[in-house]
């Protein structure tokens, strides 16, 4: 508990000398400051500006940069999500809503829609960390501005159906096709569980919106 262990170093006092000495010292300090700014002015190489819309081709986010949540689909177009809702529980602000369904053929719980509210997401990575099958990913796509905030409610799945492991066990493509139904990646603004969006968001669209096309 001795203070000496703190190794305190004490601030130097600001001294004043005479009238003229102060003027001279003051002017000198001002000139030194001007020297620094002028060095930057006269060296255009010190400009550090990145010109964003112009540098879009070369702009690369860091791999770990967390912005847009995605549910990666493999080369066959299938994901690994089992609709276990662990991410939904891990989310601190209710931004994730996993809509599951009973599989028409298998009879087991499978993912119908994976709804993610970007408007309230804090990109804290809790869902990605919590996912036991590591089927979620946050990527660095930051260009997500919209004119209407209900566009910020995303559906991440391209199809409603079981995971890729289950699907790939089925050898016959026709048989496999029966197991899943296509879903829009972004199937319009979806109210969470049919309730209004907090914040006066209008209830837009219906949860059972018709599927648009084949994925």
């Amino acid at each position: 508990m001795d203070v000496s262990r703190m190794n305190p170093i004490v601030a130097p006092p600001l001294r004043r000398s005479g009238f003229f000495a102060d003027i001279v010292a003051g002017l000198r300090s001002l000139l030194q400051g001007m020297g620094i700014t002028f060095r930057y002015f006269s060296h255009p190489s010190t400009v550090v500006t990145q010109q964003y819309p112009e540098n879009r081709a070369t702009l690369k986010m860091f791999d770990r940069y967390r912005m847009r949540l995605s549910l990666p689909h493999d080369e066959n177009g299938f994901h690994k999500c089992t609709a276990c809702r662990i991410c939904e529980q891990a989310c601190p602000n209710g931004s994730i809503n996993v809509v599951s369904r009973k599989g028409a053929v298998t009879g087991k719980t499978e993912l119908d829609r994976y709804i993610w509210r970007m408007d309230s997401c804090t990109f804290c990575n809790a869902c990605v960390m919590a996912c036991p099958f590591s089927c979620l990913k946050m990527n660095g796509d930051f260009e997500c501005s919209v004119f209407d905030k209900s566009l910020l409610v995303f559906n991440l799945t391209r199809y409603a159906g079981p995971t890729s492991t289950v699907l790939m066990k089925v050898e016959n493509p026709e048989e496999r096709r029966k197991l899943w139904e296509p879903r829009d990646v972004y199937s319009g603004p979806l109210p969470l569980r049919g309730t209004e969006l907090p914040g006066g968001g209008k209830t837009l669209g219906k949860p059972e919106e018709p599927a648009r096309s084949e994925t």
């Binding site: 930051f142 997500c144 566009l151 990646v185 907090p198 914040g199 648009r212």
Partner: protein
């Protein structure tokens, strides 16, 4: 609105060729407005650091868009960036600030808090769930906080809105380029594709 914008359309429209003149005037004014967005120095929390400070700093340089003239007085500002949480105590002040701004005025809501209340939606007694509960918002920039580039993307969208959605004929009325309710089958990628053209180097200037 100012004297010119109020009286001019009614005076000019009946004149032969007046509507052509108005249209070209529209183009000039909208060009000027979209390129001269002076933001109000206003930020309530974390987003202020990213979208007001870091975006204005040397690395990202808001000045490239002509928007570095941050005005501390709402009278002189064009752009209100709602950067951060708005709580119930702040809400009347935010409205007042918006009302003090001179037309035309634009609002960008940045970050989850200003869009929807963000992390403070549930079990919270004080946070307003989105700045649009209080004032009309033109562009929403998601992120928590959005990185400066994301904010620039929002500014580009606002510029698009000003160029395409405004006319001297109906002062104060703003038409958003993308409809509020999406027609079925349009994906967010398509909307972003539509916006991509203005991100091209030459497409940025009309």
């Amino acid at each position: 609105m100012g004297l010119i914008t109020e009286k001019l359309p009614a005076l000019v429209e009946p004149v032969p060729g007046g509507s052509v003149l108005l249209s070209s005037l529209d183009a000039v004014i909208n060009w000027a407005r979209s390129n001269s967005l002076w933001p109000l120095t206003f930020g309530t929390s974390c987003c202020a650091i990213e979208v007001m400070m870091a975006a204005g700093a040397a690395r990202h340089d808001l000045a490239r868009f002509g928007a570095e003239v941050t005005r501390p007085s709402p009278r002189q500002a064009d752009l209100l960036v709602v950067a951060g949480t708005i709580v119930r105590k702040m809400a009347p002040r935010l409205k007042l600030l918006y009302e003090q701004m001179a037309e035309p005025r634009y609002v960008i809501a940045t970050g989850s808090c200003a869009i929807s209340g963000g992390p403070f939606i549930y079990n919270n007694y004080s946070t307003v769930r989105g700045a649009d509960e209080i004032i009309p918002v033109d562009v929403y920039v998601p992120g928590c906080p959005p990185r400066p580039e994301a904010f620039f993307y929002g500014i580009l969208m606002l510029q698009k809105l000003i160029r395409e959605g405004e006319s001297l004929r109906t002062p104060g009325v703003r038409r958003k380029p993308v409809l509020a309710a999406l027609p079925a089958g349009i994906t967010i990628e398509q909307i972003q594709q539509e916006l991509r053209e203005l991100l091209e180097p030459q497409g940025g200037r009309r």
